[in-house]
Structure formats: C-alpha cells, structure tokens
C-alpha cells in the first residue's frame, strides 16, 4: 500500500468518523402513492391492483399474507432482534415516480443526485450489460444493451416481466421458495415489489455481468424485492447486486426473495455486496436449484445492516451439479451478521464448496450458520467447508454453527474446517521489521485474509470492498 493511498484512506476515515455514515444522505421524500403503515389484506389487494396484476398473482399474494400471519417467528438466530421488528410500523409499498423511465434524461433529478452521490456513473452502462436501478419500491430506470436483446436474453424488473413474459414467470415464480418456506418469504410473497428478472436462452453465454442497484430511501419502508433468474440449458450468466442505504433513526426492514434456476449444464454466478446502514434488518431468503451438470455460485458480501440473517442455498438436484458459496461478513459496533450457507445434495456425484470469512470488531457478532445435507442415494457426493474468523478486539463475538447431516454411505466425503484467531503477532512483526507501519501491516493482513473472496469479484467491486472494509476498520487499522 503506497503512502499517498494511506493518507487518502486516513482522510476518508477522518471524514467517516465525523459523519455518522458515509452514504447517510437522503433525499426529501416525493411519492405518488404511499400505502398506510402496517399490513392488512386490503393493502395486499391494493398493491396488486395498483400494479394491474393478473388474478393469479393477487390470489397468490393474499394466500401468502395468510401464511405470513400464521407462521411463527424463527426461534433461533438473533431472537431478540427479530422480535423487536414492528411490522405495523412499516410502509409496505411506495411508488416514487409514475411508470417506467425509458431513458436516463427522463429520470427525475433528485433520484439522479442520489445515484451520483452513491457513485454510480452514467458511463457504467456502456461497460456493463445493463443497469436496473431500483429506487424505492418501483424500478425507475432500466436499460438493456442492444446486443443482449439480440441474444434473446430477458433482463428486466419483475413487474415488467409479469406483464410481458407472464408465461415464463407463472411457470417458475415461487417454485424454489414457496410462501410457506418461512415467515419472511411469506411476507415477501404478499407484498413483493420490484427486483430483477433474467431469462437466458439455451446455449447462450452472457459475457458481461448484469447489474442492479437497490436503494431504500423512505422512513420505515420495507423493501421486498423479488428476483428470479433462469439460466436455460448450457447457458451462462453473472448477476451482480449491490446495496447501500441512507441512515435513519427508526428501523427499516429488507426482506428479499431470490430464486435461481440453473438448467442442465448452465452456470449462474450471483454476486452481492450489501452495505445497508446500521439500522436495517436484512432478512433475505436466497435459494438456487442446480440440475444435472449445472453450476451455481453465490458470492456474498455482508458489510452493513443491524441484523443480517441470510443463508444462500443451493439444491443440487441433478447428477454432477456443483454448488459454491463464497461469503464475507463484517460485524462492527451494534451489528449482528448471522450469515452462512446451505447445500443440499440430492443427486449422485454432486460437489460443493463453502468458504466463509468473517471479521468482527467493536462488539459486533459474526455468526456462520451452515448446513450440508446429503440425502440417501446421493452417492459420491463431496463437500468441503472452510470458515475462518478474524477478531479485532476482545469485546466482539464470533460463532460457528456448522451442521452436517449425512444419510448416504457410498463414496461420500465431507470435510469441515474452521479457525478463529486474531491478527497474528508474528505476521505483524515480520511486516513491521521490513519498515511497514503497524497500522499498514494490519491493513495488509486483513486484506490478505479477505483476498480469496475479493479476487472472485469484478475489479471495481473488489476495489470498493477493500475501501469499505478499510473505512469500517477505522480505529482498528489506524
């Protein structure tokens, strides 16, 4: 790390310390429609009506709402945090501008400002496949590069997909995560709004990553996006999602549902970096199904939020399928990152790999909670799990709860390894003896620790993540 870069980081850190949260600005709220706080069947029906949805979707939402009411709150994880969520104090639907904006010029000025502050340059769309920028509950800006359209790739928001590609949506929607999966999946199913829809036709390789940005802007506003990605036979797609939210004093809830379907021989990579401000409850259900010889990779970075409970899952349903989950979690003051991974081997010769890294500081709690399940008949299945935790002070907590359930005897191999440690004194000594200051040396060790994760990210995200980690580490590393 060069000296100038260090000085830059230090200056940034200083400004970071002054402000509460770097991205903690917010625009004045401007809404066309704002539902009342709380949730009733009428609100659910209204949401569906506002969106001009087909009848089956309205029925689906109402049924999901009933499931939401009947499902108990999970009795594990951060039970206290979960029970403190005031469901009646949340706006379940907002629409900040009418209709869908087609070109960048038409996007309202204040919304553009927000994106600029976030550093999403207009030029980015030229380099990247398409930007679906979700601002509050409705997608306001959306562009797809022409060559993607030529390939037959559908990349749109869920609401448009429901209108324009209802046959595909109806066929796959909620087949991976049904509303009765858990309380938050039911909530999302009842009030979902926005999110991405991707369909990649057979034998198509989408070379450039597809991206979407999500924003929460209004007080007490839950964001319930619903993402569905279908990669048809032998196709390949990489989807990137990044989140950042302004700071508010009262709590926000983010409860998304993400469903991925990888058909025979397809590859899906889903990368996320979430940096919700430290008052957001991030309770997300993410699940993928991989058919024969398919490959699904979740790359998952959790930096912000008050409480994250997120366990990306891969169900390996076809012979030779492969699932991979790479995750990193940073838990600072007042944060609880309860993240993990779940892989279900339900077919022979399937393989999986989990790599989880967590950093805790300032009394934060980092938890890895994972499940490997090998069903009877899934012979020759192999799985390798590694979770490492780095603790940066003596008031933080780090938990590892791996579950391994095996019902098959033939050729099954499951390995799990985990370590918890602090920054190694010997490493620091080695680096400082070569003239590097202790702070820089610590920074290098931390960057080295998360390197297996950052190298899997596209360049600009890797740089952003390193910067974010260093900003978050202010105090520990300088």
């Amino acid at each position: 790390m060069s000296t100038t870069e260090t000085t830059d980081i230090k200056q940034e850190k200083a400004s970071f310390e002054k402000e509460d949260y770097k991205y903690g600005f917010h625009d004045p709220e401007k809404f066309i429609f704002k539902a009342e706080r709380g949730l009733t069947e009428e609100i659910v029906r209204n949401i569906s009506k506002m969106k001009n949805e087909p009848e089956w979707m309205t029925d689906f939402r109402v049924a999901a709402y009933k499931i939401f009411l009947s499902k108990p709150m999970p009795n594990w994880g951060d039970v206290k945090g979960l029970n403190s969520i005031a469901f009646d104090n949340i706006f379940y639907y907002l629409k900040s501008s009418e209709g869908q904006e087609r070109s960048w010029d038409d996007v309202p000025e204040d919304i553009k400002n927000t994106f600029e502050k976030l550093g999403i340059p207009e030029a980015e769309q030229k380099f990247l496949g398409g930007v679906t920028a979700q601002y509050e509950s409705e997608v306001v800006y959306h562009s797809i590069r022409e060559d993607l359209e030529k390939l037959g790739v559908i990349f749109t928001d869920m609401d448009t997909a429901l209108r324009e590609h209802s046959d595909i949506v109806k066929k796959y929607f909620s087949t991976i995560i049904p509303p009765n999966d858990n309380k938050f999946a039911a909530l999302n199913s009842a009030v979902w709004s926005g999110g991405s829809f991707i369909y990649v036709p057979p034998n198509t390789d989408v070379a450039i990553p597809l991206q979407a940005y999500f924003r929460i802007n209004a007080k007490n506003m839950g964001q319930f996006e619903r993402t569905l990605i279908i990669a048809d036979k032998n196709s390949k797609v990489h989807y990137i999602e990044g989140c950042t939210a302004p700071t508010y004093s009262s709590d926000s809830l983010h409860s998304a549902v993400v469903e991925l379907i990888a058909m025979e021989g397809a590859t899906i990579r889903y990368s996320t970096i979430q940096n919700w401000s430290n008052n957001v409850y991030n309770l997300v259900t993410k699940r993928a199904i991989a058919y024969a010889n398919a490959r699904v990779e979740w790359v998952d970075g959790n930096i912000g939020s008050k409480l994250t409970m997120k366990y990306p899952a891969v169900y390996l349903k076809g012979e030779g399928a492969h699932g991979e989950i790479l995750s990193i979690a940073y838990a600072g003051k007042g944060q609880h990152q309860d993240a993990g991974a779940k892989i279900v081997h339900a077919a022979p010769n399937t393989t999986s790999k989990i790599l989880s890294k967590s950093l805790t500081k300032g009394g934060g709690v980092g938890t890895y909670r994972g499940l490997i399940k090998i069903y009877k008949g899934a012979h020759n299945s192999r799985s390798n799990i590694q979770c490492d935790a780095l603790m940066l002070d003596n008031i933080s907590k780090s938990n590892t709860f791996p579950y391994m359930e095996l019902e098959e005897e033939r050729g099954v191999q499951v390995h799990h390894e985990a370590t918890v440690s602090k920054v190694d004194d010997e490493m620091l000594f080695y680096l400082t003896s070569r003239g590097i200051t202790e702070d820089d040396a610590k920074g290098m060790v931390i960057n080295g620790f998360i390197e297996p994760f950052t190298r899997e990210l596209p360049m600009e995200y890797a740089v952003e993540l390193n910067r974010l980690i260093q900003l978050e580490m202010a105090g520990a590393v300088g």
């Binding site: 009877k376 003596n394 938990n399 579950y403 005897e409 099954v412």
Partner: protein, 403 residues
Amino acid sequence: MAKISIQKKTSEDIFEELSRALNMADLKEKFPVRSMESWRRFDPLNLVSPMTDAVRNGTGFSRIKVDDKLNLIMHGAADWKKHDEIFLKKSLNQMELFKSTPETGFFEDFIKKSAGHENLQILRISKNVETLSAIEILPENATGLNLGIFYIYCEEGAKADLNIIKNPGQFDLSLIYIYQENNSSLKIKYLDENPGAASSGVGFIRSIQGNYSRLEAGIYNTSARQNKKLFIKNSLNEFAECKYNGFFAGALSHVDHDFYIEHLGSFSKSELLFKMGILDECYGIFWGDTKIIPNTRGCEGYQKNKNLILGKNARVDAIPRLRIQTEHVIASHGSATGEISDDEIFYLMSRGLSYEDARKLLLRAFFEDILRQSFGSDPDISNLFLMKIWNNLQNIIGMEITA
C-alpha cells in the same frame, strides 16, 4: 427382568402414566420438547415410555463398587454423614455449582430429586493423594432403572486414574459430577457398554475444573442397541486443561452426544477428538460446542471429529460449533465424514489381504488411534478394561483381535 414397551400409545397416555408413576402432576409442562435446540435430533418423547416401565418395574439405583485402596473413600451420602459430616456438607455445597440449563434441567432435577441422599455416592480423592494404578469402578447390578448420582470430588493436588464401566441396564438416568480443586489431575476412562439388550436413557457427565487442574477423559460407547442422549459439559478455570477423546461404535443405536466445553478462565486449554463408526441402521450424532467467554486471554480450544459411515441405512450428523467472545484465542475445529477409502483397501488387498480383512484392519486402526492416545502406544494386553472395549468392538464390527 422388565421389558421395554414397544406398544404404540399416544403421547398423552404415556405422559399420564408417567405422571402417575412419578407422582408429578406438572410433568408435561416441565418435560423438554423437540423445539429445543439440544433435543432436535433426539426426541425426548422416546424416553417417556421406557421411563414409565422402568419406574414401574425398576429395582432402584444400581450401586457401584470401588476397591478400597489408598486414600480413596467412597460412600453413600448416609455413610458420609456418619463418617465425615463436614466433608459431606462441603461437597454438597460444591454440588450447587453444577447449575442445570432449561434444556437439560428436567432430567437433572429429576435425578437429583429422585436419587436423594440414598443414591448419591461420593468418591473422595484426598489432598495430594496419588493413585499408583487405575481404580476400577464397576456397576453392582444393572437391571431395571438405573438412577443415581456419582460424585467425584478430587481435592487439591490429588492425582487419580479411574476406569468406570457403566452398564446402563434397560433405562439409564445418571449423573456423574466431577469437581476438581486447583492443581489436581484426573484420568477417567468411561465405558458405556451394553452387550445385549436394548436400552435407553439420558446420561450426564459434568465437570468443573479448578485452576491448573487437568482432566484426561476417554469416553467409549460400544452399545449395540441403544437409544440415548449423553450430555458432557466441562467448565474450565484459569490454566485448566482438558482432553477428551472417545468413540462411538453402533449398529442399531441412536445416540446423541453433546459435548459442551466452556472456557471461564484465561489460558485454559481444551482438546476434543471424537470418532464415530456408524454401521447398519445406526444414527450417530456428534455435537461439539466450545465457548470462550469475554475478557479471557490465551485460551485454546480444539475440536476434531471423524466419522465413518458403514451401513446402508446409517446416518451421521456432525455439528462442531465454536462460540468465541474474545480476541486473544486460538480456536479451531475440523470434521470429516466419509466411508473407508478405496485407495487404502486397494493398497492392503494388493498385499494379499482379502477385502473383508482389509476392511476390518482399517476399522480397527480407526478406533485404535483413539485407544492408543489413552492407553499408550504399547497397551498392556492384560488390561481388563481395554480388553472389554476390544471385545465389545469385536461384537459390533466383527473384528478379530490378533496379536
């Protein structure tokens, strides 16, 4: 001999019968439920029916006997009252330190209440006493209900080596408390054997270790047919060290092993190595939990778990957990589950062994690794305790012992 009821009754009927048998009206409210994390893999309702039968037909606590050697004194609580009331009071006071948790509380409280003073046996290992050879502790009778508390009180500077053989009988509800004062050192080998008949139960081994104390425990379970939940909990104070190694070999059993190690003092160290060989229709569960509390320094916690799945309907769950709440630590765990390696079989077969022999040899090596750590690399063939383990293993796995 009482038989375990296999009749299908509704849980309501069973509860009612048990409430009557135990004379506890509020039994159902207090009884643990499956939604509790510890009981998710072992339904506590499995225990109600055998418990009812055992209470109805039981012959009471199976007393244990010990050779009266050296300065080890073993008495029931009533005898202690005559013999040394001050010690009895002191040890009962210390026993209060073993607090029960909501998940295990029902059974612990039940054992304490039902066993009373009559079925409380206290082994006192006096200050600075050192045993020269291992002390055998054997069950006296083991039919019917096996209920009681065995309390090992190891005084300051004492060093002892104990071999405990436990025949659980039909239904086993037992508590082993180990209290170690500062600087004491204890080697315990615990064999839960069940040569023939089916048995079920809940067992507890709980220990509190004083500063600079050391515990080496071997936990061996060679029950062919068993339906059991075993809770092992250890609390470590400053510079205390504990080392657990053990195995479970089962064919038709369902055994849930809970190891919970709690580091309360700085520079304490724990090592846990547990292997499971799961055959036929066995369901083996390893649950390891290492907790290091805040404001401690230099604690080390290691967990290692290896499992072999050898049966078509065998099932293994491995849950090695770590809960670390301070930074100055070294904590790690590793878990590996698989079948016997084809490469190893091939290597041995290419040297002239039959498939069956090669498999048996590798199985033997899998378990012997554990035994060598407890009994040394050149174990005494005349060691009865070791022979008993080998015989049980042989019965389960069909392994031959050759010199």
